[in-house]
């Protein structure tokens, strides 16, 4: 059952990723990326991390991707234009990606699978995650929220020069 769900999600994720790479239409690409994000959320559910899965859908597919679609819709009203690609990029891109793939494969090949053991029964629930965030990871969590606030202030300053 779990195997079946995994393969359905895997096919969905890979297919939508391929659509993102091959299609020229930006809105189709954005939509395919959104469905890719949702199928990855499905993997989180399979792993029992439901909170992360929901956040993946709400934040990435729901909020960020909608904003991207929003922008693309406004930009994509005219004729489709594509910049000429540099000659160097044309040759370098496949070679570099091939090297990256070889390195990745080598690393994966050498890695021993970690013995993680059985997760506790309440693994991945909101309560457990919240408790961990506010006890063990309290300081990193607060630092990240400061960083986010700084980013927000920066965005407001850039958008509105005069305050």
């Amino acid at each position: 059952m779990e195997m079946l769900a995994f393969f359905v999600l895997a096919v969905l994720a890979v297919a939508s990723a391929l659509v993102v790479l091959t299609r020229r239409n930006e809105v189709v690409c954005a939509l395919a990326l959104a469905s890719n994000l949702v199928s990855i959320a499905g993997f989180y559910f399979l792993l029992g991390a439901q909170f992360i899965g929901f956040l993946q859908i709400i934040v990435y597919a729901g909020a960020i991707m909608v904003l991207i679609v929003f922008v693309v819709m406004l930009l994509n009203l005219g004729e489709e234009r594509y910049p000429e690609r540099g000659r160097a990029q044309k040759w370098l891109a496949p070679i570099l990606s091939l090297i990256f793939a070889v390195i990745l494969a080598a690393v994966l090949w050498k890695t021993e699978p970690l013995g993680l053991g059985e997760p506790p029964p309440d693994f991945g629930t909101v309560a457990v995650l919240g408790r961990e965030l506010f006890t063990r990871f309290f300081y990193p969590f607060e630092v990240i929220s400061l960083l986010l606030v700084a980013a927000m202030i920066g965005a407001v300053l850039l958008a509105k020069r005069r305050i």
Partner: protein
């Protein structure tokens, strides 16, 4: 029957009941909307098909199926076809976490009357709502019509803005109840009606009002129906849609209304709790509790129609001001006050 088969069968039955009830409410609401608007405006409304025009939804359904299905030549066909399906699917999905009745006993097994009884169910509803924007945006874009595009743009801006207030206004309830499982939240509100979260149970009256305002915007209903403002945009994002595809957008709007009403009832007004202690139990109590849920949801559906035919539409800048400068600070205030109350042990379950 083994436990696993029983789980599968009972879940399938519950899914059938939930989708059936939701679609039934859509059919009834199309009739209620027109009859009630007629009452409000001193007209008759549809009264030709059946007694009081009650079979009008059936006639409409037949009409929608028989109509020619037109796809504009310049439309982006795959997305044009996909958009209504996305809209309808997402608004049906959100209902799956709503508990529509208590735990009943059937064949010696306990069944909670909710399709998905999971920890974090509220998040599922919000995830479905968040994805619901895509249906409208894609419909607006793929039609390649400037009215549709404007409608789609307006609705995405509106829904993204009000989703924030919607999510934050229920934070109070979550703080008080300490869980994200809708069924537990309803069970906590047992007893007299002042135990409901909107009243003395959670002190969430402000959150309740803010959430109701936010769902009006989230379902694109008047006074927030700018995505389909007829005078300006013909029909907004579904201008180019005809036949069953239009009908699916229509059903999605009404299903979203029902789901949103059910969310209000579940989180703030005790869900299937009757609100007064009753002296009996068993089947009679269960049926009464399901009836209480239906009645409460019905009241909010009535409110949706009542407001639509009473209030005029906001201007677009007013809409954004209300969302960002009115609702959002108030929801944040509500979260802060509730957090303080919970920290000092005034409220909490």
């Amino acid at each position: 029957m083994s436990d696993f088969t029983f789980l599968i069968v009972s879940t399938l039955v519950k899914m059938g009941v939930a989708v059936g009830a939701l679609m039934g409410s859509v059919a009834i609401m199309t009739w209620v909307e027109r009859r009630l608007s007629a009452v409000i405006q001193f007209r008759w409304g549809p009264n030709r098909v059946g007694p009081f025009g009650l079979f009008q939804p059936v006639a409409d359904g037949v009409k929608f199926i028989m109509k020619e299905d037109i796809i504009p030549a310049s439309a982006h066909k795959p997305l044009f076809v996909l958009a209504p399906a996305v809209a309808l699917t997402t608004s049906l999905t959100a209902f799956s976490v709503i508990p529509f009745g208590p735990v009943i006993e059937l064949f010696g097994k306990k069944i909670p009357l909710v399709v998905v009884n999971m920890d974090g169910g509220i998040l599922l509803a919000f995830a479905a709502t968040a994805l619901g924007v895509y249906g409208i945006v894609l419909g607006g874009w793929s039609s390649r019509n400037k009215f549709s595009l404007m409608g789609g743009l307006r609705s995405s801006a509106q829904m993204v803005s009000y989703e924030l207030s919607m999510g934050l206004s229920i934070m109070g309830v979550i703080l008080v109840s300490g869980t994200l499982r809708p069924f537990t939240i309803v069970e906590q509100q047992a007893g007299w009606f002042w135990n409901w979260n909107a009243f003395l149970g959670g002190w969430q009256f402000l959150g309740f009002i803010l959430f109701v305002i936010a769902i009006f915007a989230e379902t694109n209903r008047l006074p927030f129906d700018l995505p389909e403002a007829e005078q300006e945009l013909v029909a907004g994002y579904h201008t180019e849609y005809s036949s069953m595809k239009f009908s699916m957008f229509f059903m999605a709007e009404y299903a979203a209304m029902t789901t949103a009403s059910a969310m209000v009832v579940t989180l703030f007004l005790g869900g299937w709790q009757i609100g007064v202690p009753v002296p009996f139990e068993g089947w009679l109590l269960w049926i009464l509790q399901i009836g209480a849920f239906v009645a409460k949801v019905g009241f909010f559906l009535f409110l949706f129609v009542w407001v639509r035919w009473t209030l005029p539409r906001f201007r677009y800048d007013q809409l954004m001001n209300i969302g960002w400068k009115g609702l959002l600070p108030l929801t944040l205030l509500n979260v802060m006050v509730t957090a303080l109350l919970v920290a000092f042990g005034v409220v909490g379950r």
